[in-house]
Each structure stands twice: as structure tokens, then as C-alpha cells.
């Protein structure tokens, strides 16, 4: 880990998403709302999912957190809104695999798009949780919203 790694962490794309987050704010309608916390640092996100059939119609969120966690929520929004739930979950798996790969996993730009900018985060174990906070919240919310749709 050296100074250049910090630049790998704070890629231009990440700082852009951080400063101009996509899809931020809480919106209606929504099938499920969850609140997730990173206990170590206190970062928090409230996230809503609105499904239309098997399509992710909207993901809206309100979060307090660092550049990595905020940018990650913005990229999540880009990657899952409008997608089929199953495809979105596949994207989540790819993102999670990248994050937990300790820098050994080669990201697929076709799947992760701007998400590949997070490859550098995988080298900073303490920050992996930041990058995953919104994704885990989304996974939780989707499960709840799907359960509601089904019942």
C-alpha cells in the first residue's frame, strides 16, 4: 500500500459519483425500506426499492458516509435500476466478488461498468464494508419487496 494505491482507491470516477450521486434522495412508491449501519464507523443508509413485477423500477436512498460508500450507492443505482431482479442480483454478486477478492479478481466492465473503479478498494480491507453498505442494504430490501410481491 503506497501513495499511488490511494489514487487507485480514489479514482476520478469514484470522486465524480461522490460529488454528484445518481438517484439520491428517498422517493415513492416503494415496496420495502431498510436501514443499514456500518457499526465500526457509523455510516448509515436508508434505502427503498420499488419493484414492478420482476423489474427494479426504482432504488432511492438517503445516506451519510464517506466518499466510497456514497459513490458506491450512486453506482448501484446506475447498475440495477431498470434491470430484471435476477440480472441485478448477478451484478451484485460480481461486485461483491470484486470487493472481497483482495485485489486478485479481474473486474468485467460489461457487467460492472463504472463499478470497475472500485477495484482499488479491494486492497483496503477496512474500506470494503464502505463499498458494500448500499449493496447489502439493497439486497435486503429486494428480498423484502419480493416477498411482499409474492404474498
Amino acid at each position: 500500500m503506497n501513495a499511488s494505491n490511494v489514487d487507485a482507491l480514489y479514482q476520478e470516477i469514484i470522486l465524480d459519483h461522490y460529488k454528484h450521486p445518481h438517484g439520491a434522495g428517498l422517493r415513492e412508491p416503494f415496496g420495502a425500506e431498510v436501514h443499514h449501519v456500518n457499526p465500526t464507523c457509523g455510516d448509515e443508509i436508508t434505502l427503498r426499492v420499488h419493484l414492478e413485477g420482476s423489474r427494479v423500477a426504482d432504488v432511492s436512498y438517503d445516506s451519510v458516509g464517506c466518499s466510497i460508500s456514497q459513490a458506491s450507492a450512486s453506482v448501484l443505482n446506475d447498475l440495477v435500476v431498470g434491470k430484471d431482479v435476477d440480472d441485478a442480483l448477478t451484478t451484485l454478486n460480481a461486485f461483491q466478488e470484486l470487493m472481497q477478492g483482495r485485489g486478485q479478481v479481474e473486474p468485467d466492465e460489461d457487467v460492472l461498468e463504472d463499478g470497475i473503479a472500485f477495484a482499488g478498494v479491494a486492497q483496503f480491507p477496512a474500506r470494503v464494508k464502505c463499498a458494500l453498505l448500499s449493496w447489502m442494504a439493497w439486497k435486503d430490501a429486494v428480498a423484502q419487496a419480493s416477498a411482499k410481491e409474492d404474498s
Partner: protein, 410 residues
């Protein structure tokens, strides 16, 4: 001028010579989280394991006698270091958190706190001196109340009034977030006036200040080895002997018994009553060596050094535009933890950028979430100092903050 040579001291801490990211020297400013360890402490532990290791109390062979003597000598040293009237008042736990939980559990189990009673803490407690009291209140039906904090980061002693219902007042001596040194003598006076017991969380005090528990007058004092150049895996609960002798045990098993049958057990006298199972033997040896190290330096000198380095840091950081110190801004009744925010940069990102400069600080809520809420922040960055901290390291911190601000365009 402090009473010791910081550069000479730093040679006792090999880790401080490490080279970090970008070939920069390590600037370790996270000592309130855990302190570094001098060679003397680590070698004492090593020697113990390789030459004198045995279980204690139970063994009557020579190694057992050596290990028991070494273990109990650690207790003697700690007792002398904090001015305990009796060595039996020093109970070894695994950390400060266990010490505080121990007190909370046995005060409940022993009937000292029950439904309708009041337990008073403060808004500036570390979770380890808050959650145990919340759990006690839940178990017993007691009410949890607290002293608030002023915007300057001082305890607001007018924000709550103790009454005959108050059975326990549990307060941190030095805040690990704000650095505030609380008026513990006054708190003890008020609590004892209404007959309440006083529990002092001295986790940040014992490493930095000369402490005399007899003069302090509190009933229980908790602290932790790893923050005072000692090993992990050991904490201390000091308690007034008559109270320890009255209270029921916390954990059962091992040498905390007097006699055992299948149906019932009677318990040993303090401190053994509260030390179930094999105690932290090598850790007591290490903590004893830590206490020797601090005593050789002189706690007055350690405290003076902290004062001086904190004053230097505060004056530099007060000058920095866009930087806000959360907690007392003057080096008065104040320890060396400085929490701060930087406009437009999240504390995580601050810590990360500083780390890339070799400067190790902590970011987050520092186990003091309610206190952060008081100040309307979700987290802060904290720099904290110890006997090996130099002014050059403070300069590196300031340069790192400037770099962080320009990196994030803040």
C-alpha cells in the same frame, strides 16, 4: 521541556521505526486506541513463557512457584502504581470492558441496584461504560439517567440532580473522544452525599496521569493494559475491599471457590473470587513490566509531556481553516485525544489520506456514538498522543491535513 528524552524513548519501540506507504516513516497518532509496546514489556512476556511458564496457585512445583510469584508480582506492581490500599483490591480481567461489566453484573446480582433505583452515567461515555449499565437497567428495572455535555465539550453537572434513588454513578475520567478531563473528585463528593457508589472508567486516565485511587475516593476504578504500554488480554478492576468482599462472584470456576459440592459452592475472598479460570498470567507479567516502564519515566513526566504535545497540536490545529476541533480547544483539563472534522471531507477519507502519508489516526465514532450525536456529527477523525509522540509528528499531521484538503478540493 519534559522530564525525559523522547528520542531515546522511541528506541524502545521498534515499531516506531517502521517505514510505511510511499517510504514515509510511521507517524502513530492512535494511542488512545491502543498504545505501542516497548521492547522491555515484550521481552518480559517472552522470558516468562520460555523460562518460567506454569499455571498459578494450583501448582506446588518450582515452576509453579515461579509463575505464581511472577503473576502476583504483577498485581503488586499495579496496586502500587495506582496507590491501592490493599493488593487484594486489584482484580485482573481481560480488558476494561470486562471490568465495567463485572461491576454492573455483581451490583445487580448482589442486590445493590434494583427496580426503581437510578443509575447515572454521562453522555460522554465510551460504549463500554454505557452498554453494561443499559443492560443492568433492563435486567433489574432500574432507570438509566445521565449528565449532559456542554457545547464546549465539558460535563454539565447541572443537567442532572442525584437523589437518594441514585445507587451508582459511572463516569469516565478522561473522554476518549473529546479529551476532556472530568472533575471526578466533585462527582465522587456529590455521589457519596446521596449514598451512591462511584465507578470510574479510567481507561484513558491511568496511562497518562499519576493516579491515586485512595485519594480519588471512588468505589471502583477500571482500566486496561493495552493502552498503557502493556499487553492485550488484561484489564484491571480496582474496588474497595469491603465492597468486593460483600459482592457475589461474576464468573464461576477454577480458583474462585472456597469449597464445592455438586449442590453448592462457597467462594474465595477477593481478588480470587472474581478471577475464574486460568488468569492472564503472562499478561500480568507484561503489565508489571509496563508499570515499571512508566514508573521509571515518572507519571508526572508522562503527564507533562502529554500536556505539552497537546498544547502544541491544539494551537496548530486551531489555526487550520476548514478544520473544527470537537471538544475543548484549550489545553486545560484536557488529555491528548483531539477529534476533528474537515469541511467537505468525510472522516474516513481523511484517515485514508493521512494513512497514505504514513500518519495513523482513527476515524469513526470511537465507541462514543451518543456523544457524536450531541455534536451533530456522525463521525470524526481523531489524533491521539502518548509518551513517544514528537512535535515533528504533529507537524506531519498538520501537513497531512493540508494535503487531504487539497486532494479532495475542500
Amino acid at each position: 521541556m519534559t522530564g525525559f528524552d523522547v528520542e531515546a524513548i522511541r528506541k524502545d519501540f521498534p515499531i516506531l521505526s517502521r517505514t510505511m506507504a510511499g517510504d514515509r516513516p510511521l507517524v502513530y497518532l492512535d494511542s488512545a486506541n491502543t498504545s505501542q509496546k516497548p521492547r522491555q514489556v515484550v521481552e518480559a512476556i517472552e522470558r516468562h513463557y520460555l523460562e518460567h511458564n506454569a499455571n498459578v496457585a494450583r501448582a506446588m512445583h518450582q515452576l509453579g512457584a515461579e509463575a505464581s510469584e511472577a503473576f502476583e508480582l504483577g498485581r503488586d506492581k499495579v496496586a502500587a502504581f495506582i496507590g491501592a490500599p490493599r493488593r487484594e483490591e486489584v482484580v485482573f480481567t481481560k480488558n476494561a470492558s470486562e471490568a465495567l461489566n463485572l461491576v454492573a453484573r455483581v451490583l445487580g446480582d448482589g442486590g445493590r441496584v434494583g427496580a426503581g433505583d437510578e443509575v447515572v452515567v454521562t453522555q460522554m461515555e465510551h460504549h463500554s461504560n454505557l452498554v453494561p449499565w443499559q443492560l443492568l437497567a433492563q435486567r433489574t428495572g432500574a432507570d438509566l439517567r445521565w449528565y449532559g455535555v456542554t457545547p464546549e465539550g465539558r460535563l454539565d453537572l447541572d443537567s442532572h440532580t442525584l437523589t437518594e434513588r441514585t445507587k451508582v454513578v459511572a463516569v469516565t475520567w478522561v473522554s476518549n473522544m473529546l479529551g476532556t478531563i472530568n472533575p471526578v473528585a466533585e462527582i465522587v463528593r456529590r455521589a457519596h452525599e446521596v449514598g451512591a457508589l462511584v465507578v470510574i472508567d479510567a481507561s484513558q486516565a491511568v496511562p497518562q496521569l499519576p493516579v491515586d485511587v485512595a485519594a480519588l475516593g471512588a468505589d471502583f476504578v477500571a482500566f486496561t493494559g493495552h493502552k498503557m504500554v502493556g499487553p492485550t488480554g488484561i484489564g484491571v478492576l480496582w474496588g474497595r475491599y469491603d465492597l468486593l468482599a460483600e459482592l457475589p462472584p461474576f464468573l464461576g470456576g477454577g480458583e474462585m471457590i472456597e469449597t464445592v459440592s455438586m449442590e453448592r459452592t462457597t467462594f474465595a475472598a477477593p481478588p480470587h473470587r472474581f478471577e475464574a479460570g486460568t488468569p492472564p498470567i503472562a499478561q500480568s507479567v507484561g503489565l508489571g513490566a509496563a508499570v515499571d516502564y512508566l514508573t521509571d519515566l515518572g507519571m508526572e513526566n508522562v503527564a507533562a509531556h502529554e500536556q505539552q504535545i497537546t498544547a502544541y497540536a491544539l494551537s496548530a490545529m486551531n489555526e487550520l481553516p476548514g478544520v473544527t476541533i470537537v471538544g475543548p480547544k484549550e489545553p486545560v483539563d484536557r488529555g491528548g485525544a483531539i477529534s476533528f472534522t474537515i469541511d467537505g471531507v468525510h472522516p474516513h477519507d481523511v484517515a485514508q489520506l493521512l494513512d497514505s502519508q504514513g500518519v495513523a489516526v482513527r476515524a469513526g465514532h470511537h465507541c462514543a456514538k451518543p456523544l457524536h450525536q450531541c455534536f451533530g456529527v456522525q463521525s470524526t477523525t481523531r489524533a491521539s498522543f502518548y509518551l513517544y509522540t514528537t512535535e515533528a509528528e504533529i507537524d506531519a499531521l498538520v501537513a497531512g491535513i493540508r494535503h487531504t484538503q487539497s486532494y479532495f478540493g475542500a
